[in-house]
């Protein structure tokens, strides 16, 4: 029997369990697609789904990929110059990214794409959002600029020259050290703050409303 299984694996490209998992998954997907097919304008929905994947991979990804790649370290630069370059780039592209994500997520409001619908549904004007987005973006750049100024004043930390640069051959993993402990504490603290914030918002909401006589 072993040879039959080998034969299957050879022809199919993976073990039988893979095929079982794939078939089970595609059947569920198929059911969803079948229901979509019964809806009005079903073709449009399917086109939308495929277009979402294509739009992301062909248009959106090169855009934000460029944002990450825009920073290039001058070849052969001194350590100090390299560190300066990194800081300058990051203090620009982080607020740019922040602003672009907000624009992406709130595009219909910021660009007033459906002002009548918004007014008809909410009874309010959609005009406030462009200004709010500009202000939030400005705040992002301001915070970044202040952080950059502080960094410059303190002096840009220069990496340890005795350490091989990060892009060299992969070596042994450094032992778990102070960096890891600090990093994990930062993550824990951020998570804790987020949980606290949500909890506080819920408690405030309930105290002021849910338990009224």
């Amino acid at each position: 029997m072993r040879s039959a299984r080998d034969r299957f694996t050879y022809e199919y490209g993976a073990q039988p369990l893979h095929l079982l998992a794939v078939v089970a998954s595609l059947l569920l997907c198929g059911y969803g697609l079948l229901r979509i097919e019964n809806l009005d304008n079903s073709l449009r929905i399917v086109v939308w789904i495929v277009a979402c994947a294509l739009f992301h991979d062909v248009i959106a990804l090169p855009l934000y990929s460029a944002l990450l790649r825009i920073a290039r370290i001058p070849a052969g630069a001194a350590l100090k110059t390299r560190a300066m370059t990194v800081h300058a780039y990051n203090h620009i592209r982080v607020p740019v990214g922040f602003s672009l994500v907000l624009l992406l997520v709130y595009l219909p409001l910021i660009l007033r794409l459906a002002p009548d619908e918004y007014m008809g549904t909410t009874g309010r004007s959609v005009d406030v959002y462009l200004g709010r987005w500009l202000l939030l973006s400005a705040a992002g750049f301001l915070v970044s600029a202040i952080a950059y100024a502080i960094t410059l004043r303190r002096g840009v930390p220069v990496p340890d020259a005795s350490r091989p640069p990060a892009s060299s051959e992969p070596g042994e993993a450094p032992p778990v050290g102070r960096g890891w402990r600090i990093g994990s504490r930062i993550v824990l603290a951020m998570t804790g703050l987020a949980v606290l914030w949500v909890a506080a918002a819920l408690v405030v909401g309930l105290l002021t409303t849910g338990f009224s006589p």
Binding site: S25, Y31, N41, A53, D57, V101, A114, S167, P174
Partner: protein, 445 residues
């Protein structure tokens, strides 16, 4: 050997000795592996982003199905999904706690908004796979790629349709939002299940290799590039890093947190709500007075004019032992009750107000409705999916369920449903029918 490793062996693609690896055709552009030069890419980063996303998608899926249940799709014309023929719901949606729908639905929308930056980062981290060569290695591989297309397409589709639905920009859709979002979620979950089975072992191996959290401790000058021999996402020719992996994760996480805060803000009270600066329902202020709170669909848009609820208006109670017609004074002459209840919208926002009016249970008794009857509530609004809604017996029976005539001590404004509107605890917002004209009780339980 751990269980995950075992699973990994059973579902991973086989490298068969009898089938030599396809010779690499000379690639161009992104089809060359060397094209991708970020030192951050690697299985660890992708696995980390994937693990970050999982709870968000789990919350969104669970609360999404709960929201469908909250509409009591088994009753009347409540089901807008186009007839889901497998009924998953064996319970009547409860009326307790009153903020139940506010909680589940705001979680749904918060999770959806918060996952957007993480999904973008995850897709960025894994993009070299799109250009892998050869494009199809085997039948197994081609099925996997088909499933990934569905996964990426539906995940973006769900987020895009969800976002533009809550921001009222429906023109580009050209189809009905609700059933498309609902069934696309089913396709998404099917593809996600396979992705988890195939990729959990890969992620577990990456975490074992590099330490689940250790790269978080590595700043830009300590960061080690991953071995491209072991890790097919790692660049064989990486640039010098200009940001650390933990730096990227912090930025993505920060963006996610900002969107979560902004989105949850539109469930808060008073001026705190303004932290939802860009959320469609964060705006407060406006014409002062007792009717100054969030409106869902103005009277103008619904086509309801003040005169329709004027002196000639009668509430028609039907389906009981006798037909009863009541004018507004007649309703005001009945025993009035005051309750503080939320309107929680499917779009993920909430507003709490103090409502005064007649208990639905009192109206049922007045009309002589049968025990356990359902109630079809119809509006003066002439068209639209939500000009009517059917309430279940437990919702009519709850003593906090009102046909409200006043809000915050004064007559309802026209936008909020004058002359009378339904308000039921934990009911999705649009089922609290405004401008009520007729209430029809079903014959029996």
């Amino acid at each position: 050997m751990s269980r995950l490793e075992k699973l990994g062996e059973l579902v991973s693609e086989e490298e068969d000795a009898r089938r030599p690896p396809a010779p690499d055709p000379p690639g161009i552009g992104p089809f060359r592996r060397e094209f991708w030069r970020s030192p951050l890419r690697g299985q660890w980063l992708t696995s980390f982003f994937g693990s970050m996303m999982l709870p968000f998608f789990a919350i969104a899926a669970l609360t999404g199905f709960l929201s469908h249940a909250a509409y009591n799709p088994g009753l009347g014309a409540n089901d807008l999904s186009g007839g889901f023929d497998v009924d998953l719901y064996f319970f009547d949606w409860p009326t307790q706690p009153v903020w139940l729908y506010s909680l589940t639905q705001s979680l749904h929308v918060i999770a959806g908004f918060a996952v957007i930056p993480i999904l973008l980062a995850k897709l960025w981290s894994v993009i070299p796979r799109l250009f892998e060569r050869p494009p199809v290695r085997s039948l197994a591989h081609s099925l996997e790629r088909l499933s990934v297309l569905l996964l990426v397409g539906t995940s973006i589709f769900l987020l895009v349709t969800g976002v533009i639905n809550v921001e009222y920009w429906l023109a580009p859709l050209g189809f009905s939002f609700l059933p498309a979002h609902y069934y696309a979620a089913m396709v998404f979950l099917g593809a996600l299940a396979l992705h988890l089975v195939l990729k959990l072992p890969v992620a577990a191996a990456a975490f074992r290799r590099e330490g689940a959290f250790r790269p978080l401790g590595e700043g830009i000058d300590r960061m080690r590039a991953t071995d491209p021999e072991v890790d097919d996402l790692a660049s064989p020719d990486p640039h010098e890093p200009t940001i650390s992996r933990r730096g990227l994760i912090a930025i993505v996480g920060g963006g996610s947190l900002a969107l979560a805060v902004m989105t949850s803000g539109s469930n808060l009270l008073g001026s705190v709500r303004e932290i939802a600066l860009l959320s469609p329902r964060g705006q407060t202020g406006g014409p002062a007075g007792p009717g100054d709170f969030q409106v869902n669909k103005t009277a103008e848009q619904a086509g309801v004019a003040r005169a329709m609820g004027g002196p000639g208006w009668r509430l028609k109670l039907r389906g009981g032992s006798e037909d009863v017609d009541l004018d507004r004074d007649g309703l005001l002459a009945m025993q009035q009750h005051t309750e503080r209840l939320p309107i929680a919208c499917v779009e993920g926002w909430t507003t709490w107000q103090t409502w005064t009016g007649v208990r639905l249970a009192d109206l049922a008794a007045l009309a002589g409705a049968a025990d356990g009857a359902n109630l079809l509530v119809e509006s003066l609004q002439e068209a639209g999916a939500f000009r009517q809604a059917t309430l279940a017996a437990n919702q009519i029976g709850d003593e906090r369920s009102l046909l409200a005539l006043k809000v915050n001590g004064e007559d309802l404004t026209l936008d909020h449903g004058f002359p009378a509107r339904v308000i039921v605890p934990a009911l999705p917002g649009v089922h609290n029918t405004k401008w009520v004209s007729r209430m029809t009780f079903s014959e029996a339980a």
